[in-house]
């Protein structure tokens, strides 16, 4: 039998494995020893093939560990590993005999501590804010009374029930629920697609486009809510043309969709309250308005009626207006006849008084008296005195006239005698008498020539003799002029 058994050579007494055997043995040991581990690491390279599985590296400063999450596990993960993320990965170690590799099958990835996650959230928030997604001017006002409300949430659970209950209490509306996963890997993508989907509906189409969107989810851990921090969700909410209310988690939970939403509600119930007014209150309001309107109208009429009544009271009766005047008329009318009579009477009396003095006899007497006086005066007028005076004055005048004539005759005779004497003297003294004695007067025109020089200068000369004038050269003078007294002087 011994030769049947190969001698074991030195070093050959160990068990000889096949590759598969040893690989299987390693796998068993590894899985047995590390069936459940938590590994703290930084996430390295992440790859997501189309299969839906997730391959990534976990590393620290000295070692690298391959990690994989199968499709189903990925869907359940609240937080997806991202490169650079500090995480605690939970899972089991296993080997991959086909590649001589060992790896960690990761069930769940948690950020290593709240701080790290919050830091990441803060970084993302800053980046989105820088894109203007949270700008106040992007906020749209909510419609006062939306006809159709779109709710993006899980179709089952307390959240949609709370919303519908509160809506029913306040103002029942048409509600379209877009069912989505509110946590896990698909959450973000589904929520984003739902928001976009509601916006894509046409108003009045088969599926009515909502006037308002509520994105709601109940409370949960930060990991549970993580989908609402995803960029695609935030961007979809910011881009929504339909006003959007976010109601994710409890009041203390803040996710990034809250910043991009037009309004943030602390709870799903609060979102329903923001969405619609209370119908009963509105009915009451409308009734109240109606009442106020009627009252206002009544008041307006009442006020005017009152005013009219006041004015009518203040308006005097027409009789009253003429009363005084009529009374005065009556009074004066009554006095008119007596007054006329009285006036006539008065005048008649005065007339009678005046007429009483009128006596033609008196007038005649007066005239007679005046005539008598006149006649008496006339009888006293004596023309003899006047005549005597006139006769005397005429005699005086005759005497004066006779004396005047005598004086005048005597004076005239004297003057005539003197004149004759003077004439005789003139005759004897005149130059013409000298002419008879042989003297002559030489003239040129009217000028008497007394010198030779003047005679030579004269154009024509005229010589006067006793019996007339004689022209020498030129024409004789037309008439003889008597010598002027200055010539006479020179002759003496």
């Amino acid at each position: 039998m011994s030769d049947l058994i190969e001698d074991a050579g030195p070093g050959q007494n160990a068990h000889e494995y096949t590759v598969s055997e040893i690989s299987g043995a390693v796998k068993r040991v590894l899985e047995g020893e590390f069936g459940y581990v938590r590994v703290r690491a930084e996430v390295g390279r992440v790859s997501r093939p189309r299969s839906g599985h997730l391959y990534f590296d976990l590393k620290d400063d000295r070692a690298v560990l391959n990690a994989v999450s199968w499709k189903g596990q990925v869907a359940r993960m609240a937080v997806q590993p991202e490169e650079g993320m500090e995480v605690i990965a939970t899972g089991r170690m296993t080997t991959f005999p086909g590649g001589s590799r060992y790896q960690l099958i990761v069930d769940n990835v948690e950020p290593a501590g709240e701080g790290a996650l919050m830091a990441m959230l803060e970084k993302r928030k800053k980046a989105l804010a820088a894109d203007g997604l949270f700008a106040p001017e992007r906020k749209q006002p909510l419609p006062f009374l939306p006809e159709v409300i779109g709710v993006v949430t899980s179709p089952s659970g307390a959240v949609i029930r709370d919303i519908l209950h509160r809506l029913r209490d306040r103002f029942p509306r048409k509600v379209l629920v877009w069912p989505v996963a509110v946590q896990g890997q698909n959450c973000a993508a589904e929520v984003a697609r739902a928001i976009e989907g509601f916006n894509a509906l046409t108003p009045g189409g088969a599926l009515p486009r909502p006037d308002l969107i509520i994105v709601a989810r109940g409370g949960g851990s930060i990991e549970d809510l993580w989908g609402f921090n995803e960029e695609i969700v935030v961007r979809a909410a910011a881009a929504s043309d339909i006003p959007l209310i976010s109601a994710v988690g409890h009041e203390t939970d803040t996710t990034l969709i809250d910043f991009a939403a037009d309004r943030r509600a602390p709870t799903p119930t609060a979102a329903a309250e923001m969405a619609v007014p209370v119908r009963l209150e509105l009915l009451g309001w409308v009734d109240d308005q109606g009442a106020r309107m009627t009252r206002g109208m009544g008041q307006a009429v009442l006020l005017r009626r009152q005013r009219l009544a006041d004015l009518s009271r203040a308006l005097p009766r027409p009789e009253q207006l003429v009363e005084g005047a009529r009374q005065r008329l009556d009074k004066w009318g009554d006095r008119l006849d007596p007054a006329l009579r009285a006036a006539t009477q008065r005048r008649r009396v005065k007339l009678a008084e005046a007429a009483a003095h009128l006596r033609p006899g008196l007038l005649r007497n007066a005239i007679t008296a005046k005539r008598d006086r006149l006649e008496a005066r006339i009888s006293r007028l004596r023309p003899e005195a006047l005549t005597r005076d006139i006769t005397q004055k005429r005699r005086d005048l005759d005497q004066v006239a006779a004396r005047l004539a005598a004086v005048a005759r005597a004076d005239l005779g004297q003057r005539r005698d003197r004149l004759a004497a003077l004439e005789r003297m003139r005759m004897s003294l005149g130059y013409e008498e000298t002419l008879a004695r042989g003297y002559a007067v030489v003239r040129s025109g009217e000028q008497v020539i007394t010198t030779r020089v003047a005679a030579e200068a004269a154009t024509a000369l005229e010589i006067q003799f006793r019996d007339g004038r004689f022209a020498v050269g030129g024409k004789p003078a037309k008439k003889a002029m008597p010598k002027k007294p200055p010539e006479q002087g020179s002759l003496f």
Binding site: P143, F144, L145, P155, S156, I160, R161, L164, H165, L167, R168, F171, P172, R173, K174, V175, L176, V177, W178, P179, E190, R193, G197, L201, A206, L207, R279, L282, L283, W285, V286, Q289, G290, R292, M293, T294, R295, G296, M297, Q299, A300, V301, L303, R304
Partner: protein, 80 residues
């Protein structure tokens, strides 16, 4: 006052208009003839508001989608 016909107004528009009418009537500075017209308009607006409030009908449906996430129609929401 907007010129939009009352029966085309949304609840909110009708409400605003009604509020305005009431305010004007209450101030009482509108001539009587005009206030009658105003009152009639107010009554019409009130009717519109009441009609819109009466339309309060609850209808809840969930959207159904195809594989690509495109909405295909609605189905009643089971729960609630």
């Amino acid at each position: 006052m907007s010129d939009k016909p009352v029966n085309e107004m949304s609840f909110e528009e009708a409400m605003r208009a009604l509020e305005q009418v009431v305010g004007q009537l209450e101030r009482g500075d509108v001539p009587l003839e005009e206030s009658i017209t105003l009152y009639e308009r107010g009554a019409e607006l009130k009717k519109r508001c009441e009609a819109k409030l009466k339309e309060a009908e609850e209808k809840v449906a969930a959207i159904t989608t195809d594989a690509s996430g495109t909405p295909t129609g609605t189905r009643p929401l089971d729960e609630v």
